[in-house]
Amino acid sequence: MSVEIKTSTLEPVRNTFANIERRFGDKPATRYQEATYDLQAETNYHYRPLWQPEFELNDKGRTAIEMQDWYAFKDPRQYYYGAYVGQRARMQEHAENNYAFFEKRNLAALLSDELRASLIRLLVPLRHVEHTANLNNMYGTAYGYGTAITQALLYDAMDRLGIAQYFSRIGLILDGNSGDALVEAKQLWLQAPLWQGMRALCEETLVTEDWFELFVAQDLVIDSLVSDLVYTQFDTWLAANGGQDVAMLTEFMQEWCKEHTRWVDAVLKIAAAESDANKALLGQWVERWRGKAAEALAPIAQEMLGDDALAESLAALDKRLVKAGIAGGNL
């Protein structure tokens, strides 16, 4: 027998907002739909920006990519704010337990001096790379078009700030909260030849104007290579060389990368499928940034993992490009 609570049902006049109905028909809508579609103003802007009078406040012309409907970029994760923070809160709770366990058991003490030094040299400076990613995704949030993609870029930007902060915490764990590891890593970032290619690349992304190109450079090319090198290959190397516990501190990033990849690939696929012109443009951008990024990362990959590592990461990137319909696999 089941419990039956009687409720009175009132017939609604409509199932959802009219813009959602025009897009998806007269049926109940999801929260993602109501919180995403057509939120951004489309027309009748009153004044041109003093800071960019060649454009309207919201302007499709800030990228060379063209879309019939900028709301085609549906997020496969269907993140609106509430869904987004809910998912991240779960991930951070897990991360918090990991960090607490790592500190309580003083697992840092199990790391050899050599390993500790290479974490400071190779891992901690990534906080500056993530900080760049924060700015680059904010750029897309501010100058992109249509809530479907701009809200996802904003979530990404905030994720990258969070990740930069996790990398900083790794530094603090390694230096007993003195901040010395962060100072050292920053000096490396500013001066060591190892990092200068990467720093120059980050600075170059920060002066890149086309927001979709920047999305390709940052979220596809740089992120794909860094993630494969750091979260896949370096992680494996650490596990085999007495640093397996470090994975507790990067698990958030690993999990995040998988999800990030799913969204980025969906965006690229949609943009490429829209037109040959888009596809060609994406191809050019990938080629341009793939070369730069490979050059910048070469010394880091070399020191981290040896000769073949970068080629492996590039191959992983190329596989994604084929899947997204941007390249035939012979870049």
Binding site: L10, E34, Y81, L206
Partner: protein, 500 residues
């Protein structure tokens, strides 16, 4: 080795403030190109005091907890016909004004703070802006979700974003935020963080939320409580912004003063819509507009400007005019909307006798003398079956975009009217405040998309007004507009309540 404990300030510095660096390979000015053109001088970004020191992990955690509670209430409201618990079906019209007029501003705030969150060269200020950007996105989305249920049972909610871009009275809030976003990044912060969030939020956001609390609107009031801690963060940012700018360089003082003058006037005009909502649209009244203005602006704002005097900042210009306006604006505004009620996407009505008495009591110096007689006349006409609607389109102010309906404050029977000629073209204004704002930046305000001009120029469809309403505004003519009496909203309410 035992790890030393870090205090919040050091921790925040290490985790956040220290992430940026001096460039070697590119010109930093090219990466942050908009910092100088307004004339603001920033000598040292490191002097920025973080108004709150939230790291992302904590942010996710707190915000997710709040969302969980909030959405549980939304679900409960939907499951239990929460819309039938509001005080009176007229209340839903305040929500329509909110969704079409205010929620899109939250979106614009999200965009504006994304812009400054990318553009400021100082990492502390930048990240504070980024957090506000994502908060503002939260607010528009949760507001849409709160209204989603009302939309299923009342008219006028359904095309809120389409309407915001087009409908005549919605160009008042839209142009306000377009103005702020199209300004430079520092003016945006003075406009929105300081003038709007810090000083005026208790007169915009709060009246709607208190209105919800007084009128049985569980979804909206829960949103209001849930957003309170976000708003508190935004207010502290507003105060930090002003102090930082004033402390950075003395040359900033006159620039900031000019922005304060402009944005207080702009803000006051925008609040006209809130004033009529408080005095006329809430069936259960929270307080009168005049009382709200005295408590939140005159007392709280007065103390603030006393505090800012040490920087050489004085109270906003036109303070004396503003003080007189509190007696009049809500009455003049509701009368305007009542008389153009065939062209509004919410219902209008004559206040009940009890409400007229309440207004008389709250406005002893003005209501009986100037405004009650109009409503008595409207009542008579309605009783004769002649509910009147003004024919023809009003002249709009070229700055605030409100129809020229305000009177001279020293002579409330005389319509106020100002004008100026710029490049052989005459422009019209509702007040000295709006006139002066135009004259200071004519190249900006000649661009205004004035809805009435646009209709007359044939840019909004037509030829008749009803064609514009139906085809260009996408209003359900006969359902969304006109008087509350006899509306489908009223009929449905009566059927839910079993009233014949």
């Amino acid at each position: 080795m035992a790890a030393k404990k870090l205090n919040t300030k050091d921790k925040y510095r290490l985790l956040t403030r220290d992430l940026d660096w001096e460039f070697s390979y590119e010109d930093r000015k090219q990466a942050f190109p908009f910092e100088e053109f307004e004339g603001i001088k920033i000598t040292d970004w490191s002097k920025w005091e973080d108004p709150f020191r939230l790291t992302m992990d904590t942010y996710w955690k707190y915000q997710a907890e709040k969302e969980k509670k909030l959405y549980a209430i939304f679900d409960a409201v939907a499951q239990n016909n929460g819309h039938t618990n509001i005080s009176d079906p007229r209340y839903a019209n305040a929500l329509k004004l909110f969704l079409t007029g205010v929620s899109p501003l939250e979106y614009q705030a999200h965009q504006g703070f994304a812009h400054t969150g990318r553009q400021f060269g100082g990492v502390g200020a930048r990240i504070a802006c980024q957090m506000q950007s994502i908060d503002e996105l939260r607010h528009v989305q949760t507001q849409v979700h709160a209204m989603s249920h009302y939309n299923k049972f009342f008219d006028g909610f359904q095309d809120w974003s389409h309407m915001h871009d087009r409908v005549w009275y919605l160009s008042v809030p839209k142009s306000f935020f377009d103005d702020a976003r199209s300004a430079g990044p520092f003016e945006f912060l003075v406009a929105i963080s300081f003038s709007f969030e810090y000083v005026l939020t208790n007169l915009l956001f709060v009246p709607f939320m208190s209105g919800a609390a007084y009128n049985g609107d569980m979804a909206t009031v829960t949103f209001g409580f849930s957003a309170q801690s976000d708003e508190a963060r935004h207010m502290t940012l507003g105060l930090e912004v002003i102090k930082f700018l004033l402390e950075q360089h003395e040359d900033n003082v006159p620039i900031v003063q000019e922005w304060i003058d402009k944005w207080f006037w702009r803000g006051t005009r925008l609040l006209t819509l809130v004033s009529m909502m408080m005095d006329y649209m809430l069936p259960n009244k929270v307080m009168s507009w005049k009382e709200a203005w005295e408590v939140y602006f005159e007392e709280a704002g007065g103390a603030l400007f006393k505090d800012l005097a040490r920087y050489g900042i004085r109270a906003p210009k036109y303070a004396e005019t503003i003080e007189k306006e509190k007696e009049h604006v809500s009455h003049q505004a509701w009368w305007l909307f009542y008389s153009y009620g065939d062209a509004t996407a919410f219902h209008t009505w004559i206040p009940s006798d009890e409400e007229l008495d309440w207004l008389s009591e709250k406005y002893p110096d003005t209501f009986d003398k100037y405004y009650r007689p109009r409503w008595e006349m409207a009542k008579k006409m309605e009783a004769q079956g002649k509910r009147f609607y003004t024919k023809g389109l009003p002249q709009l102010c070229n700055c605030c975009q409100i129809p020229l309906m305000f009177t001279e404050m020293d002579n409330p029977t005389q319509l106020a009217y100002r004008d100026t000629v710029y490049k052989d073209e005459r422009y019209h204004f509702c007040s000295d405040g709006c006139h002066d704002i135009f004259v200071a930046e004519p190249e900006k305000y000649v661009q205004s998309w004035l809805p009435v001009h646009q209709i007359l120029q044939g840019n909004c469809g037509g030829p008749g007004l009803e064609d514009v309403l139906r085809d260009y505004y996408r209003m359900n003519v006969g359902a969304d507009n006109l008087d509350m009496k006899g509306s489908p909203d009223e009929q449905r309410w009566n059927s839910w309540k079993g009233v014949a």
